[in-house]
């Protein structure tokens, strides 16, 4: 089993750009997202989607399916944001906030103006910042993020744990998906009860394999001269692109200027 996002991160068209450039670009836009309002946020979302889908050649269906995750979360929380209730007695105090509403028992349920406004703002911010994060996770492989963190001086243990976890995740994920397939082939997961039973067996086996793996991997590490640290090296063979750097720089500058102008005129 492979993880789609991880695979794309290694095969996208912007892979050869230095990871620092991509990270800096996306983080700058993320900060900008948090300082501005809906119109600029939407512009950021669209511009980054162009980078991700057109420049990095991430297939659009995959990208938009991923975008449905924050949208789904937004929809889930939407009722809580826009629907409000108030005792009929206090109705007059919120009259200004009511857009549409109906009495329900001794309560009055209504769509709140404030809530709708808030939900709209939230949607723009969520989409824009999600686009920033997706640009990172879809174009920068995790190993390269790790390399950047290493050079930024993150605690060694943290880096080592992330390095090893990343490797083991794929080992265990493969085991889990193999077990899952084999169970399917023997008619498991047919009913809720069987599903729970099969899943219980799978998790138990997975844990046993994990411990077995531990013994074997620690032998292999010893044999490779384990010193107590996990240090690895890699040569850097990135090719910065002037065309992309220029677009990123001037785009960011333009958006920042726009944001400044917005503040100045007090929008």
């Amino acid at each position: 089993m492979t993880l789609q996002i991880d695979t794309l991160a290694y095969t996208n068209r912007l892979r050869q750009l230095p990871p620092e450039h991509k990270l800096l670009f996306a983080i700058a836009l993320l900060l900008l997202t948090y300082c501005t309002r809906a119109p600029i946020q939407l512009a950021i979302a669209v511009w980054l989607s162009v980078w991700t889908v057109i420049y990095a050649k991430i297939p659009a269906p995959i990208y938009f399916r991923l975008l449905s995750i924050p949208i789904g979360f937004w929809l889930t929380s939407l009722p809580a944001l826009i629907i409000s209730g108030v005792g009929l007695a206090n109705l007059s105090s919120v009259q200004a906030d009511v857009w549409q509403g109906a009495p329900w028992g001794s309560y009055y349920l209504y769509f709140s103006h404030h809530g709708i406004h808030q939900a709209g703002e939230l949607a723009a911010r969520a989409i824009a910042s999600t686009a920033c994060i997706y640009f990172i996770i879809l174009t920068v492989p995790f190993t390269e993020i790790l390399d950047v963190l290493r050079r930024l001086g993150c605690p060694t243990l943290l880096i080592e744990l992330l390095l090893l976890m990343y490797r083991f995740i794929f080992v265990l994920l493969r085991t889990a998906s193999e077990l899952w397939t084999a169970q399917q082939s023997r008619c498991g997961y047919r009913t809720w009860r069987l599903w729970m039973k099969s899943l219980g067996l799978l998790v138990g086996q997975l844990l046993r394999r994990t411990l077995e793996n531990y013994r074997q991997v620690s032998l292999a590490l010893e044999s490779r001269g384990f010193t107590g640290d996990f240090r690895v090296c890699h040569s850097r063979r990135y090719q910065p692109s002037r065309r992309y750097s220029l677009e990123a720089f001037f785009g960011c500058a333009f958006l920042a200027a726009l944001a400044g102008w917005q503040y100045a005129v007090g929008l």
Partner: protein, 284 residues
């Protein structure tokens, strides 16, 4: 035809090239079929497709003439008829004891406990597992695990038994035992198809051989016919069984050897003799 693949395409998500491409292949009932090919030629994918675990992106798979349906109930029915033994028994064995593991498939069919127990103890007797029955699975040797994984599937009495590289990594003794067991299963009326990259095994055991390369069917036929296509087999770096190689070398040596008589010098090795030797390996 028991199972037929018709113009099947399958590409794994995220993979640039297809694992199986425009593949048409028919498994005849009652035969001992072997799928031959390198690692990654699409053998495993084919079996997973046959078991309804993957759905082809193009083409139709037919079980006894009817195209596969991918709803839950049809898949259950299919998987009862088509048993799949995975290459790595580690992948297949999930429960903690041998007995429990054999009962897993039966329990999933929703059979009453008494019947499950009866069938499990039959299978245990049939596969000589009585000594291992209550042993935890992870204490077994590879050969024993393979035997359990075969019992796991056979307890469901499938009509077609698929085995993915059943002899991979087994030593010779265990391989011989396994093949004998498969002979017995086939004699009792189950059609068997196994995949391997062991040419000698294929030659010894098969009635009918399919040669796969890069997701496509390259050759099919009786072992004699298939291995006569030496050139094609060399082209896909598969070669021919060792027996053929040795016999060719013997013939070569005999014809070069000045000490031998006129006749040997002319023919190398007489054709009838060659056939007889080749056949002696087919007994199994």
């Amino acid at each position: 035809m028991l199972l037929a693949f018709e113009h099947i395409d399958y590409t794994y998500p995220g993979s640039p090239q297809p694992a199986v491409q425009n593949l048409t292949l028919r498994l005849p009932a009652g035969k001992r079929c072997v799928l031959l090919g390198h690692n990654g030629c699409g053998k495993t994918t084919l079996f997973l497709l046959a078991n309804g675990l993957y759905k082809p992106q193009r083409g139709v798979i037919r079980w006894q003439g009817a195209p596969l349906q991918y709803d839950r109930a049809s898949l259950m029915a299919l998987r009862q008829h088509v048993g799949l033994v995975f290459q790595d028994p580690e992948q297949q064995l999930v429960a903690s004891s041998v007995e429990e593991d054999i009962s897993y498939g039966l329990c999933n069919l929703g059979l009453p406990d008494a019947e499950v127990n009866r069938k499990v103890s039959e299978a245990i007797a049939h596969f000589n597992l009585s000594e291992l029955a209550s042993r935890p699975v992870h204490h077994l040797s590879l050969g024993q695990k393979k035997r359990v994984s075969l019992a796991d599937v056979m307890v469901l009495q499938p009509k077609l038994l698929l085995l993915d590289e059943p002899t991979a990594y087994l030593d010779r003794l265990h391989t011989r035992d396994l093949m004998a067991k498969l002979h017995q299963i086939q004699a009792a009326g189950t059609t068997i198809a196994l995949s391997t990259h062991d040419l000698d095994l294929a030659y010894c055991w098969a009635d009918w051989i399919f040669v796969l390369n890069e997701g496509q069917l390259v050759l099919e036929g009786t072992p004699q016919d298939v291995f006569a296509q030496r050139e094609t087999l060399e082209q896909i770096h598969l070669g021919v069984p060792l027996v053929f190689d040795v016999l060719d070398k013997v013939a070569d040596a005999l014809s070069k050897d000045s000490q031998t008589t006129e006749e040997s010098a002319r023919h190398g090795l007489p054709e009838t003799l060659r056939q007889r030797i080749l056949d002696s390996f087919r007994a199994g």
